[in-house]
């Protein structure tokens, strides 16, 4: 790792070697290096998380400790910017109390940053982006649910495209994601430069119109998954998010398909699952039915009828024998990776 300090503008160049330590430089103490032991599983998963995303996650973790009540600004000119920014901002929602992830999950916050609180709460985030890109994000999981979670109070707003790079304006510093195809790094500014960019973002926000999008909220999805469909189901949602973050080229997974496969693994009623999906704004009931048929054709999910009196029989989702054997030996992840990416 190298950390270059040039006054008020710095560039974090994190090149995590596959060794057994990780190092974090803080904005307050740029020369400070914290060494945190990592497990082998951590390293395996980390290698699947792009470096610039980890850098943004670190930025978010540090800034979350700097000013809890100050709104953030996320300027997202493209869909991939929405995916990256909301993924980094999701760091603050994964607190130890609410997080049921298994060790080594790629969606957990990266290194424990010195100064960052263990109970960081979701900051108020004002997301600005072009309408077209926000609409695209609203149709892709988990970007839609993360966007819904971080903009719970206000919703995103619309600004002109292409005038800015993906930018996160935190309470005391600003991070700019610099990209040229495969070359990516995060540039961080604080002091007067942060103040100027923050003023600009505030004015852009004040002048912008509300985006016309309907978004689920990942916080609610996580909470209600456990509440409505059972304790194991929340872990399955996390697995789907994890697959999107670690295995998907564009950071997106077919949420309906993943939920249906999970429902089949837990042998839940299709009616309950499709109601929950529709209620969470993830998709319509018609989409659920169509996707269930596709998974049936792919020999992953099957259904059995259960009589109800009065009324039509209801369907229970089950994995096919082949899929069940794979689930029992390898878990849900490979089924989602194979059928929902």
């Amino acid at each position: 790792m190298s950390y270059v300090d040039t006054g008020t503008w710095t560039t974090w160049l994190f090149r995590h070697p596959p060794d057994t330590v990780s190092r974090v430089a803080t904005a307050e103490h740029p020369t400070t290096v914290a060494i945190t032991p990592l497990t082998l599983t951590d390293l395996t998963m980390r290698q699947q998380t792009p470096t610039h995303v980890r850098d943004l996650e670190q930025f978010v973790t540090q800034q979350s400790a700097d000013g809890r009540n100050t709104p953030w600004y996320a300027l997202c000119p493209t869909l991939s910017a929405v995916v990256t920014a909301t993924r980094a901002l999701d760091t603050t929602t994964r607190t130890p109390d609410s997080d049921t992830q298994t060790p080594g999950s790629a969606t957990r916050a990266p290194e424990a940053t010195p100064g960052a609180s263990d109970t960081a709460s979701t900051p108020t985030v004002r997301v600005l982006g072009p309408q077209k890109e926000l609409r695209k994000a609203a149709q892709r999981f988990p970007a839609d649910a993360r966007l819904g979670a971080v903009t719970d109070d206000t919703g995103p707003r619309v600004v002109e495209a292409r005038s800015f790079p993906p930018t996160l304006v935190g309470p005391t510093a600003v991070a700019v994601l610099v990209t040229a195809r495969d070359a990516q790094c995060v540039s961080v500014a604080d002091g007067a430069r942060h103040d100027r960019l923050r003023d600009g973002a505030e004015r852009a926000w004040a002048d912008a119109d509300d985006a016309d999008v309907s978004l689920p909220s990942l916080d609610t999805v996580r909470r209600t998954a456990e509440h409505r469909l059972g304790p194991g189901f929340r872990e399955d949602v996390e697995t789907a998010v994890d697959v999107a973050d670690s295995r998907s080229q564009d950071g997106v997974v077919d949420a309906v398909g993943a939920v249906l496969v999970a429902a089949a693994a837990h042998e839940l009623l299709f009616r309950d699952v499709s109601r929950w999906i529709a209620h969470q704004n993830l998709a319509s009931k018609a989409t659920c039915s169509r996707r269930r048929n596709e998974l049936t054709d792919a020999d992953v999910v099957t259904t059995t009828e259960e009589a109800t009196r009065p009324g039509r029989p209801i369907l229970r989702c089950r994995l096919t024998d082949t899929a069940r054997r794979r689930y029992e030996s390898e878990g849900l992840r490979p089924l989602i990776e194979e059928h929902c990416l």
Binding site: T10, S80, V178
Partner: protein
């Protein structure tokens, strides 16, 4: 801050940031139209480095629609101070990249910054990606004359005063609220009428420089006649069909006398 002020601020910042590196060859990656506008202004500085531009087609189309800006860019291209390429690559930030440095352009509302990344470690990676993006991209035909071609009286049967007026018109157009509203064909026809030039000469001049086709000149002339901005009189050529001399109508002549060329052009573009 108006768009003009934003372009001014960006042009100043770009000039300050890149002028010291006049010997380097930069690539400008994924600029917005206003960044290209600022770059075209920066080219006014004689000691500004060569900058090749690789942008999305929609951005370059916007540049082409803004005639005044397009002539500036065409002038820079003709002087081999830059080249234009179009790409559909999406994963790009707005960057000035040379083999020696990477400068990031950030414009948020009225705040403009052009920051050089402080580490040389990344320069090679960014330059390689930017260069490959440029090489993979397609040349963009701007189809716009240079400023010198527009204002030159050489090879033109139009009076020298027409070309002087056209230079004034370009300056006036730069102050339009909507820069894309400026129509070089309408402008040329009205200026030709002011100097009682032949329609044949102005449309041939426009066609030769690539301003527009003869059919477009003919269509615009009809519109200007319908709107009572200009009229024509026939001039005998001895052999063949008579030619048309363009003349301002009395109403346009009065506007010119009272409000000057700026007012006449404003009305012609309403």
């Amino acid at each position: 801050m108006s768009d003009t002020q934003a372009v001014d601020a960006l042009a100043t910042t770009i000039t300050e940031r890149l002028t010291p590196y006049v010997d380097e060859e930069f690539l400008l990656v994924d600029p917005a139209p206003r960044t290209i506008h600022a770059l075209a202004r920066a080219f006014d500085t004689t000691t500004f480095p060569h900058v090749d531009v690789v942008a999305s087609e929609s951005v370059l189309r916007t540049v082409r629609r803004n005639f005044v800006l397009a002539t500036r860019v065409a002038t820079a291209v003709a002087a081999e101070r830059c080249r234009l390429q179009t790409t559909d690559t999406e994963d790009l930030s707005t960057l000035f990249v040379s083999p020696q440095r990477v400068c990031v352009v950030v414009v948020i509302d009225d705040v403009v910054t052009v920051r050089e990344l402080p580490s040389a470690d990344w320069t090679t990676a960014f330059h390689t990606e930017a260069r490959e993006t440029f090489v993979d991209a397609e040349p963009y035909p701007l189809r716009t004359p240079t400023r010198e071609e527009l204002l030159s009286a050489d090879d033109s049967n139009l009076p020298a005063a027409f070309h002087e007026d056209f230079e004034t018109a370009l300056a006036i157009a730069a102050s339009f609220d909507d820069p894309e509203a400026f129509d070089p064909v309408r402008t040329a026809l009205v200026l030709a009428a002011r100097h009682a030039a032949l329609n044949y000469d102005v449309s041939r001049w426009g066609e030769r420089l690539g301003v527009a086709s003869g059919a477009t000149f003919s269509r615009r002339k009809g519109q200007l006649e319908d709107d009572d901005h200009l009229t024509t009189e026939e001039v005998s050529t001895g052999l063949g069909r008579p030619r048309q001399r363009l003349l301002l109508t009395d109403a346009s002549g009065a506007v010119l006398d009272d409000g000057g060329l700026a007012e006449l052009l404003r009305r012609v573009h309403e």
